[in-house]
């Protein structure tokens, strides 16, 4: 009797985990299934599989009779520019703070800490005011440039650079390499795991960004996926509930971040596992 109870107790956490996993995964499965069903069926029977009535009409409409392709293109343009730019600027600044004992470093450090404490939502109105004053409102520049710097990213890079032995850089300096050369061709290639972290964070951050794009642009040509799908959700583009098309749009916009997450997560794990083995 006693052993049986212990057996049950040992399995209980696993059963709880499986139930929780179902709760976390089921919404996405329901989303996928219903995006492939006719509007009327979804409204009537949201949890039925209705094998006979599968349709790709929602996807067809998104791709052929909506601005969805344009939104996707804009999201890719902005996200790629932000990610590339941010990796470069953030690692430059991180290297400077980690390795170059320049005058004023303490001030810069304190400033970055203070900036991290400013809640983003508070900046919506003022950011619009500045973007407008600078003359980059309603342009890719206005959507991209303010996102290029990220204080948290600077600290991630700084911490990583500090973990690299200084001896390697000193050798390069003796060989006559300048500060930028040392950074660019010696330190940065060694920092792949940290760079990957920045890539993931900024890709995810700018792909999922909504409020900044609302305040930095207004023309339909510059609508990103987040803005476009948000408009779709609030019903500005359709009559009735139109759940399949909304679910399909939300599903499609999730795919790139999911792909980036899975690919790079694996790579980061490989890099650190490799480092441990050596």
């Amino acid at each position: 009797m006693r052993t049986r109870r212990e057996g049950v107790l040992a399995w209980a956490p696993f059963v709880v985990l499986i139930l929780l996993a179902i709760i976390y995964i089921a919404p996405f499965l329901v989303q996928i299934v219903n995006s492939f069903r006719p509007d009327a069926d979804v409204a009537r029977e949201p949890l039925s599989l209705g094998i006979g009535s599968w349709t790709a009409a929602a996807y067809e409409r998104l791709f052929t009779r909506s601005d969805f392709p344009l939104w996707t293109m804009n999201s890719f343009i902005v996200t790629l520019c932000v990610t590339v730019g941010r990796v470069f600027f953030v690692s430059l600044a991180g290297y400077s703070l980690a390795r170059i004992p320049f005058r004023g470093r303490g001030t810069v450090y304190a400033l970055l800490i203070a900036v991290m404490a400013v809640p983003g939502v508070v900046l919506l109105i003022p950011k619009f005011l500045v973007i407008n004053q600078v003359g980059i409102y309603d342009s890719y520049a206005g959507m991209i440039i303010p996102l290029l710097a990220d204080a948290a990213g600077v600290f991630i890079m700084k911490n990583f650079f500090e973990s690299i032995p200084v001896a390697i850089e000193e050798q390069a300096r003796i060989d006559g390499a300048g500060v930028f050369r040392t950074f660019w061709s010696i330190v940065l290639p060694m920092s792949q795991p940290a760079v990957m972290t920045i890539v993931i964070l900024s890709f995810q951050g700018s792909w999922n960004e909504l409020s900044h794009f609302i305040v930095s642009a207004q023309s339909t040509d510059l609508t990103t996926l987040t803005k476009g799908v948000a408009q779709l959700a609030s019903g500005q583009l359709s009559q009735g509930s139109q759940f399949p098309i909304k679910l399909a749009a939300a599903l499609l916009m999730t795919i790139p971040v999911a792909v980036v997450f899975f690919i790079f997560q694996k790579r980061i794990m490989n890099v650190s596992a490799g480092a441990v083995k050596e």
Partner: protein, 345 residues
Amino acid sequence: MAGLRSRGSIHGNRTVAGWLFVAPVIVIIGLFVLVPVVMAAWVSMSDWSGIGPPFAEGVNFVGADNYADLLGGTGLATRDLGTALRNNLYYVLLVVPIQTAVALGLAILVNRRVMRARGFFRTAFYFPSVTSSVAIVVLWLFLFNATGPVNKVLSWVAIDGPNWFKDPRGIFHIVLGAFGVTGQDNPLSGARFLGITGWDWVSGPSVAMTAFILMAVFTTSGTFMLLFIAGLQQINAEVEEAAMTDGANGWQRFRYVTLPMLKPMVFTVVTLGLIGTWQVFDQIYTGTQGGPAKTTLTPAYLSFNAAFNNHDWPRGAAMAFILFAIIVVLTVLQRLWIGRTEVGR
């Protein structure tokens, strides 16, 4: 760079290189964080109409008038701010403890040493955190619609689910109503704070807001779970084993060994939670625009709406600063509290 190396002292070169390297980040942050904060502080104390530059002639300094109107008035603006603060307060009070507890629970379950498929569960719980808030809101509007999957599941256990995102009733009001307590002839209905009656302050989150609360737990518990897993892995296995040989059972080990050692991480998660939950914007913009009956209005959305839709920039900026003050005060209070408990030990 080669040129820099050959000229001047080594020290001077380093300073130039150091500043050159941080320059892009400093310029961008200065221009799009520091300057905006100063500019908005000015706008919040001016009568700028939104036309022309805010520093132009003809824009007057009005001191704290905008703030006084918002906080001390009796008009619609004060009522809206009071409503938004109430809504967000309930959101914070429910989301922060629940997401912390859920994240901790998930971390402990996933981190068990005898666990199989640990990676699968970690990914499953973390995945909602990766997706954009817009995509999740779209999914949520579907899941919680009147004839949606959630109500379908509830109907299996004979519960008649509400029309979630259209239902403005406060959940505390619903519970009180079941005991016959209503707003009529209620002593609380007389007193007002920020234009809102006492009875309305105790409404609890509306049914619509409750759906957003569930969503917040769903999307953030994975992130915080990762933090807790990192914290759990710091705990020495020997400490756990020592407790086990001393005859401590599972709950005792959790309560007297694991939890005290996780305390710093719990504080981190609560602080991050407090800061994040006062900034609810994307969900409201995408999902409800403050409805039904303003019960999902939040200060962040209200501030945005005042400026961008009603073109009342000074009021919008003032509300943003009030929100900023709330977040700063809470963070400082929490730091002080941690400081005190550390000293007390």
